[in-house]
Structures are given as C-alpha cells and as structure tokens.
Amino acid sequence: MADVDEDEVRERLKSALWYSIGKIVDQESLERNRNATPQFIAALTDLVWHQMETIATDLESFSQHAGRTTITTDDVLLLARRNQDLYALIKDGIDKERAKRVKGKGKQRR
C-alpha cells in the first residue's frame, strides 16, 4: 500500500513538473519562433525527472561524505564542477543572494 501511495505521489509530481516545463517550453518557443510537440515536452519532463533523481542522490552523497545530513550550497557547487560556465553561473547566483541578504539586514537595522 505504501508503495502504491509513493508511486501515486511520484506520478502527481511528474504531472506538476510536466506542466511547469510545458510553460517554459512555450515561452522559449515564442522567443525562438519555434514550435514544440507535446511528445517533446513529455520527453523533456522525463529527462528532467531522471536528472533530478541523479541530482538528489549525488547531493545526498556529497553531504554525507562531508559528514553532514544537510545539503548546502557547497554540495550544489560540487555538482556543477564539471562545467566551468555552469559552476560560475550558480556561484554568481549564490553570491548575489548572499550580498542581497546582507544588505537587507543592514537596512533593517537602520
């Protein structure tokens, strides 16, 4: 019974993911003046799902290797180690968020 519930949950999550990816594909299609078939969206959703499974297990392994049970940004950056551009993109986003948070706290204190 638990397995059936888990499968149902996964299916619903996949459906939600399919919807979101569909919106991204629609937006990109408009920008590129292209069209995408529903099969393309479904296949991309499947691909993203499997990639997320890999990401989740990798992040878990990295954090466990570091002696933690909480995944941090260091683990995510380790995930992107193979591609310098991707690494820089994610690091840049993390740094910007931290800078914004620090500035926000400073304004709050004033």
Binding site: A42, R82, K105
Partner: protein, 194 residues
C-alpha cells in the same frame, strides 16, 4: 528616506515567511548556522516533519517531510553605501526583475521532488542550496531546448526514437559541457530530423 525594498528578493522571502508561519518552529539540529528567532525579513527556520498546516502537491507544497534550513550569515556591521553602489543595486534588481518574468519551475515543486528522491529519511537542504538547485535545473531545461532548437534548424521540436541502444544517461556535466545528446534507453530527445 524609507529603506529600499528588495523587490525580487521579496518573493522568496515572502515564501519563506509563509513557510515559517505555516509550520512549527523547531530548533535546528543539523544545520551549522540557522535562525532561531523570527526576523522581519522572514528567513524561515528549519521546517521539520509534522507541519501544522498540510498542503497538497497541487499547491506545490512542502508537505510533511520537507526539511529546509536557512544558511544564516554572520551578523556584520553594514558599511555605508555610495551612490555608485546604490545604482549598481538598482541595475541588479532590474535584471533580476527581468529574470523573474521568465517562467520557472516552482521552487516548492523542486523541493518536493528532491525530497521524494532522497534515499535517506533525515536528509535536509538549506534554502540557499534549494534555490541553487532550482537555478541548475532551469539552466538544464533551457539548454535542452536551445540544443534541440539549434540541432533542428527549422520546424517543430520533436522526439526522435532513433537510437534504441543509446547508453544510459549522460550526466548533466557531460550534457552541458560536451554537447552530447540528451538520451536514455529507448529515447533520444534531439531536434534532428528522423
């Protein structure tokens, strides 16, 4: 002069504050740095199992098993901002507002999927890492579409059942780094003509 609101950041912080109010504030156990006192910006403390308010998958909710933690920065004295820095901040905010206009996978959905895929029950993820993963997946999706569009040239972006014996999946690093096809057994997501 009233403090300037950080527009793009508010969305994430509002979501964080909603999560904080929706769930019971329990002291963190595993996070090295985490909030214990509620703050005005709404940085949420750890959310553990047993949320007081239950959401559904349809709401892209965190649900009962979500464990997200804030990486709280050390408290520092805020240096005075020059006008140039203020202008830089404004430019960054404008860029981020443009980014916010772009469609994204909801962060709550991504968190939920991650937690569904974790093998260990007690695994948690900080909010910063959660957002970083969201950015990662966003890049993944957009690059997949871009590669398919470039390879296709014209016409529809389609699925090509070309290679039934394609080796099992390429990791993202290889995908994004070396231009390999997006593939898994029995399925080739490529924009090329079949």
């Amino acid at each position: 002069m009233p403090p300037k609101a950080t527009g793009p950041g508010r969305g994430g912080r509002v979501a964080a504050s909603n999560n904080r109010t929706a769930t019971s504030n329990k002291p963190t156990t595993n996070a090295s740095r985490s909030t214990t006192a509620p703050r005005g910006r709404g940085d949420a403390s750890t959310t553990t199992g047993g949320a007081s308010r239950k959401r559904t998958i349809d709401d892209y909710a965190h649900g009962g098993r979500t464990n997200t933690v804030d990486e709280e920065e050390e408290e520092e004295e805020e240096p005075q901002q020059d006008e140039e820095e203020l202008e830089a901040v404004e430019e960054e905010e404008e860029e981020e507002e443009e980014d916010d206009d772009r469609e994204k996978i909801p962060p709550e959905l991504l968190t939920r999927i991650l937690h569904a895929c974790f093998e260990r029950e007690g695994t948690r993820i900080t909010r910063e890492a959660d957002r970083a993963v969201g950015r990662y997946v966003d890049v993944f999706v957009r690059e997949a579409i871009a590669r398919a569009a470039v390879e296709r040239g014209r016409g529809f972006l389609e699925v090509c059942f070309a290679s039934l014996f394609f080796p099992f999946p390429v990791c993202v690093g290889g995908l994004l780094g070396s231009g390999l096809r997006l593939g898994r057994p029995g399925l080739d997501v490529v924009g090329s003509a079949c």
